[in-house]
């Protein structure tokens, strides 16, 4: 446990700092309807760093940061000027174009440099788990300064009314500076989640900026803690686990909304209707798949068998069950013995008596044979199951279809559910 805490508190602090500024920027970004602008700015900054790298500057050098900053400011200028570039094509299209062109240009550049690809990857895929307190010393003052600047200019930077391009430039430039440093710390995916999800939950439930921020910050802190804990407990890569936790948080927040608004009963009814129709649809498609291609994958039946292994013995006859059980036993035995050989060989590399080349060659070919034999047994298992399913496909599919029809609340209520959804 102490291991967990000593490993996880620095990334948690980093997450809190990042959420602190990104939730605010997220609210602004949502209001401006430029959702993917952070990806474009991060990619532009990475392009700048790549140019610096090509010119021979090391990754951490001030010159590299200078190039990144210069590229980001140019992109900010472009974004500020093109806010209303056309009433026909939304600005989001331009943002997407900036993103792909910057990414492609960086690939073209690094193609000329050894190690370039790794360099670029490191700029865009920071790992929050190995970010430490030392990195906070450089970002916290920066974020505080930008936060204060925005507080001072809050009337100018607000999205209400006519906005001058100068203040738009200030917005995008400061945002670019923030994103450049945060992406290097936590990676593109996580920074996008920090930006959009707390802000979206805040906007969903609160009306004033202060309340939206407070809500976004608290939800973000909770989701970060949950994501980090899940990542430790379930042995998952930290950034990806946090992103998924944030996604689940947003889904929960969205689902909780009708309950908090006192519309629980109609919402539940609608959800039940959707769930029943969805389930009926899945059952019907599975039945059709079983009838037309009984040997192909049957995800629904497989899932049921995985959850209730007894189900399999129900549809295999005695002979089939015996063959299946045998094959399973042998497959497991081969896997175990192969693993044991692997462990023996690995130990012998540095401990005890060294195995000579002939012995290692023998182990290697044994392992290959074990692999083949196991594949053979697994083929037998699939074949037995496939044959049984083929034999029973008509009654099984009919039962599934009937269950599906039983789930549909009748044609009349099906129509009414459509009307409710359409409203």
């Amino acid at each position: 446990m102490s291991d967990a805490i000593s490993l996880l508190w620095p990334p948690f602090l980093v997450a809190l700092c990042l959420i602190g500024i990104h939730a605010y920027f997220g609210i602004q970004v949502l209001a401006r309807k430029v959702i993917f602008v952070d990806l474009a700015l991060a990619q532009i900054a990475a392009l700048g760093a790549t140019v610096a790298f090509m010119l021979g500057h090391p990754t951490q050098a001030p010159a590299t940061y200078g190039y990144s900053l210069a590229f980001t400011l140019l992109a900010a200028l472009l974004l500020a000027f093109t806010r209303a570039w056309s009433s026909r094509v939304p600005q989001e299209a331009l943002i997407g174009v900036i993103y792909v062109v910057a990414a492609a240009a960086a690939i073209l550049l690094i193609d000329r440099a050894p190690q370039g690809a790794e360099h670029l990857k490191q700029i865009l895929t920071g790992n929050i788990l190995t970010s430490g307190v030392s990195e906070l010393f450089s970002i916290v003052p920066l974020y505080l300064a930008i936060g204060l600047l925005h507080f001072g200019l809050r009337h100018r930077l607000s999205t209400a009314g006519q906005r001058s391009w100068l203040w738009e430039f200030v917005f995008y430039a400061t945002f670019g500076v923030v994103v450049t440093s945060s992406v290097a710390l936590a990676g593109v995916l996580l920074v996008f989640s920090f930006l959009i999800i707390p802000a979206a939950i805040g906007v969903l439930y609160a009306d004033t900026l202060l309340r939206q921020l407070a809500l976004g910050w608290s939800v973000g802190a909770l989701a970060s803690a949950a994501g980090l804990a899940a990542s430790f407990a379930l042995d998952l890569p930290t950034g990806a686990a946090m992103v998924c936790t944030f996604g689940v948080t947003l889904a929960l927040a969205g689902m909780a909304r009708p309950f908090l608004r006192g519309q629980a009963v109609p919402a539940l009814k609608r959800a039940g209707m959707v769930a029943r129709c969805g389930l009926a649809f899945v059952l019907a498609v599975s039945a059709l798949q079983l009838m037309l291609a009984p040997r192909a994958d049957q995800p629904l039946i497989d899932a049921f068998e995985y959850a209730f292994p007894a189900l399999r013995t129900a549809y295999l006859n005695a002979g089939e069950a015996a063959v299946y059980g045998d094959a399973k036993l042998y497959a497991e035995r081969y896997a175990r013995e192969a693993e044991q050989l692997n462990v023996t060989e690995m130990r012998s590399r540095s401990q005890g008596e060294a195995l000579d080349d002939a012995a290692v060659g023998r182990i290697s070919s044994f392992l290959k044979s074990y692999g083949e034999m196991r594949k053979g047994e697994e083929f037998v298992m699939a074949e037995v199951r496939g044959r049984a399913r083929e034999r029973l496909r008509w009654p099984l599919a009919a039962a599934m279809l009937m269950a599906g029809v039983a789930l549909v609340p009748g044609v009349a209520s099906l129509f009414s559910s459509r009307r409710i959804r359409g409203m």
Binding site: F232, A338, S350, G371
Partner: protein, 306 residues
């Protein structure tokens, strides 16, 4: 007279053609160095993946397909290490009719891993995987200098098949090279003896063959599956292993990310040792033999710096 001049011209041209060097393309720099050792002045070798680029994630360029034009022999690492090479060969076969010699099974096609005793075979990866996503075993087989015996044997076979006239020359080259390697293996083993069984950590499981030959102990890897960052539980486990077994070195290749290795180094006081996994990975690793020289020196330097 006219006919005589033409005949003489044709004879001269074919003589110079015969003297032209054999074009060989390899996927990696290591194989290039080994082909040079066997082929000597008779071969003109180029490698596709530049030094210090991760060959497993290489994306071929149009110029690579053009490079295969008029190539008589191709040499690949095998064991799913350079899977992209199949598509490149298919492209070359589409572009030119005579490319069948370098097609899989052709006279000029060499899979360097043929007959190698492959380590870390984990079949359909059902067991606990230890570093590689490959079902066909750990592909870094050239990092055991003794495997040069088998790899150069595979190369010799193809060169002699395509250019039988110089078969004896290739064979003599190979024997001389293997003698040099044999002497060097003795030297490297002696130098690395103090490091034997001393636990180390590596960024990725690139070093199985190297570790077996020189009896080094890699107790763990930072990146267990290619492209997936380590989980906190895995990092905690590594830190525990490093403290328990008193791990003093973290090995990484120049193209592997530094951040996670530095994190562990700061937590445990270990030092990061940069080793070349391929020829050209470090400035000193200019060919197959100096690759091991450079790595042995780097490991010893890290050992002595404490």
């Amino acid at each position: 007279l006219c006919c005589g001049v033409v005949a003489a011209g044709v004879a001269l041209a074919s003589a110079s053609l015969a003297q032209e060097r054999l074009r060989v393309v390899t996927t990696t720099t290591d194989l290039r160095s080994l082909v040079e050792a066997v082929g000597g002045y008779r071969v003109d070798v180029t490698n596709i993946v530049p030094a210090n680029v991760d060959a497993e994630e290489y994306q071929p360029k149009p110029s690579d397909a053009i490079r295969l034009k008029n190539t008589r022999v191709v040499v690949r690492v095998g064991l799913d290490y350079d899977l992209w090479f199949d598509r490149l060969l298919a492209q070359a076969a589409l572009a030119q009719a005579g490319a069948h010699g370098i097609w899989r099974g052709g006279a000029g096609y060499v899979d360097a891993s043929a007959a190698i005793a492959v380590l870390d075979i984990r079949g359909a990866s059902v067991g606990p995987s230890d570093g590689h996503a490959h079902g066909s075993g750990n592909p870094h087989h050239w990092l055991d200098p003794k495997n040069a015996d088998i790899i150069t044997g595979n190369i010799l076979e193809a060169l002699a098949r395509v250019d039988p006239e110089h078969g004896a020359y290739y064979e003599a080259n190979r024997i001389a090279f293997l003698r040099r390697i044999e002497a060097k293996i003795g030297e490297w083993t002696a130098k690395l003896a103090p490091l034997q069984s001393r636990a180390m950590i590596a960024y990725h499981n690139d070093w199985a063959y190297f570790a077996r030959r020189f009896r080094l102990n890699f107790a763990g890897f930072i990146e267990q599956r290619p492209g997936v960052p380590p989980s906190p539980a895995h990092l905690a486990e590594l830190i525990r292993i490093m403290r328990e077994q008193n791990v003093r070195s973290i090995v990484r290749q120049p193209f592997e990310p530094e951040k996670d290795a530095r994190f562990l180094a700061e937590k445990t006081g270990a030092t990061i040792v940069v080793l070349a996994g391929s020829v050209g990975g470090l400035p000193a690793a200019a060919d197959y033999i100096s690759l091991f020289d450079a790595n042995v020196e780097a490991l010893l330097a890290a050992q002595q710096s404490r």
